[in-house]
């Protein structure tokens, strides 16, 4: 399944679990699976998360300040979960087995 479908599909899958997923976890996972290295790719994946949330496919359920530098020190960390709209939109794209 990994790394052969568009990144946003995979992000939706990763956020489709109880309690959601933290942005730094998703970003790391995607970087590993798609072999995307470097800070530019990291920020680009995080921006995909921001776009998905902006379009209401994801919503943040928890926010905290990145004290330890998990993603970027001093910035916010978001825990995202897929919304009902996101599930419906993903149903005919990447979450067919759900």
């Amino acid at each position: 399944m990994a790394a052969n479908r568009p990144i946003k599909f995979r992000i939706l899958e990763l956020c489709n679990k109880n309690g959601g997923a933290w942005n730094y976890e998703v970003v790391r996972q995607i970087q590993k699976e798609y072999n995307l290295k470097g800070d530019y790719q990291r920020d680009s994946i995080n921006f995909d998360l921001i776009e998905l949330a902006s379009c209401s496919l994801l919503k943040d359920v928890e926010v905290r300040v990145d004290e330890e530098g998990m993603y970027k020190k001093g910035f916010l960390l978001h825990k995202y979960v897929i919304t009902d709209f996101g599930k419906a939109r993903a149903a005919n794209a990447c979450l067919m087995y759900v």
Partner: protein, 348 residues
């Protein structure tokens, strides 16, 4: 800083970025009118227009020449986009997205039909049968179509304030082109074809935006846009140009003559400005919504007149001051909207 204000700050940054993209779109779109105007008087397009006009009349000649110019425009746009995606390292994502025809690339190919042969050709038809000012004014209506569709189709929230902003910008555009519009409406013998062209432009670009918004839900804007232009190149180069050649128009003869240094330079400039105006347009949609992105993008009317005045010395009439002021009011109304409203762009 506490969590709430950090969150608010992060959110405002997102909205600002979206508006910035849309604003750049308007500037680049306006800039595109320079090569977009110049290319018509360059050979081979000038000679092509003359040859076809001699046998088929001015209006037909204008549309057939427009097809070839638009085809070259689409070609240089995709070249610019390939460089752009290469620099961003997005070829891998492009391949992955292209393969997902049903959920992803289908939308971008549909967007290319509405944005390409319907909107651009419609715009040229409006220009040919009624006039340039009418074509510009007709196209200004597209954010209305786009935002209504995006709201009805997938529930994009469009605030009253954003709609007021769009209305001001459209009024501003109408005022800018107003004088020319009145003269044009009185002339022309087969004007109704031109009106249909104008309608095609407004509806085409509006639908394109709404469809693109749908595809961009689950795709990257840079990649999605490149697929949209891949579609447009197929439409022009594999369908329209050969079809017109079969009907006896000298398409290939003039296409081969286009490889002159100055013509290529102007076409490349057109490709870069048009390509990046589209990049910024598509990038703004997921951040501020189709309605706002298109509304701010509509400022292209003002920029086009300004750039044309700067580069060609066509002094615009005084109405540009009134129109420009209306555009400014409209944009301020949108820029200053409370961003809290835009936390999520769609109602759940």
């Amino acid at each position: 800083m506490d969590l709430q204000s950090l969150k608010k700050q992060e959110h405002q940054r997102r909205i600002k970025k979206g508006f910035m993209w849309a604003f750049f779109c308007a500037i680049l779109w306006g800039l595109w009118y320079i090569p977009g105007t110049v290319v018509w008087v360059l050979n081979p397009f000038d000679a092509m227009y003359g040859e076809i006009a001699a046998t088929n009349g001015d209006a037909v000649s204008l549309i057939v020449t427009a097809v070839l110019i638009t085809a070259f425009n689409a070609l240089t746009v995709i070249l610019a986009l390939m460089v752009w995606n290469g620099a961003l390292g997005k070829f891998g994502e492009m391949k992955r997205t292209l393969k997902e025809f049903h959920p992803c690339s289908k939308w971008f190919f549909m967007a290319s039909i509405f944005g390409g042969p319907i909107a651009i050709l419609g715009s040229f038809i409006a220009m040919g049968f009624v006039g340039g000012a009418f074509a510009a004014v007709a196209a200004l209506a597209y954010p209305v179509v786009g935002s209504i569709l995006a709201s009805k189709w997938y529930g994009e929230k469009i605030s009253k304030r954003a709609f007021i902003g769009i209305a001001f910008i459209i009024l501003g555009g109408i005022t800018i082109f107003g004088g020319g519009l009145l003269t044009e409406l009185g002339t022309g013998n087969v004007a109704w074809i031109g009106y249909i062209g104008g309608l095609m432009a407004a509806v085409g670009w509006g639908i394109e935006g709404a469809i693109a918004g749908k595809g961009l839900d689950i795709a990257e804007p840079d990649v999605g846009l490149t697929l949209r232009f891949l579609g447009e190149n197929i439409i022009w180069w594999i369908i329209a140009v050969p079809l017109l050649a079969i009907f006896g128009f000298p398409m290939f003869k003039y296409a081969l003559l286009a490889f002159e240094p100055l013509t290529i330079l102007v076409l490349v400039f057109a490709g870069i400005t048009f390509g990046f105006c589209y990049v910024t347009w598509y990038k703004s949609f997921p951040l501020i919504g189709v309605g706002r992105g298109q509304g701010i993008g509509n400022l292209y009317g003002l920029f086009a007149v300004i750039f044309i005045a700067l580069f060609f010395g066509d002094i615009p009439s005084w109405t540009i001051l009134v129109g420009g002021a209306l555009c400014l009011i409209g944009s301020s109304v949108m820029f200053s909207e409370d961003t809290g409203q835009m936390e999520s762009l769609r109602g759940e």
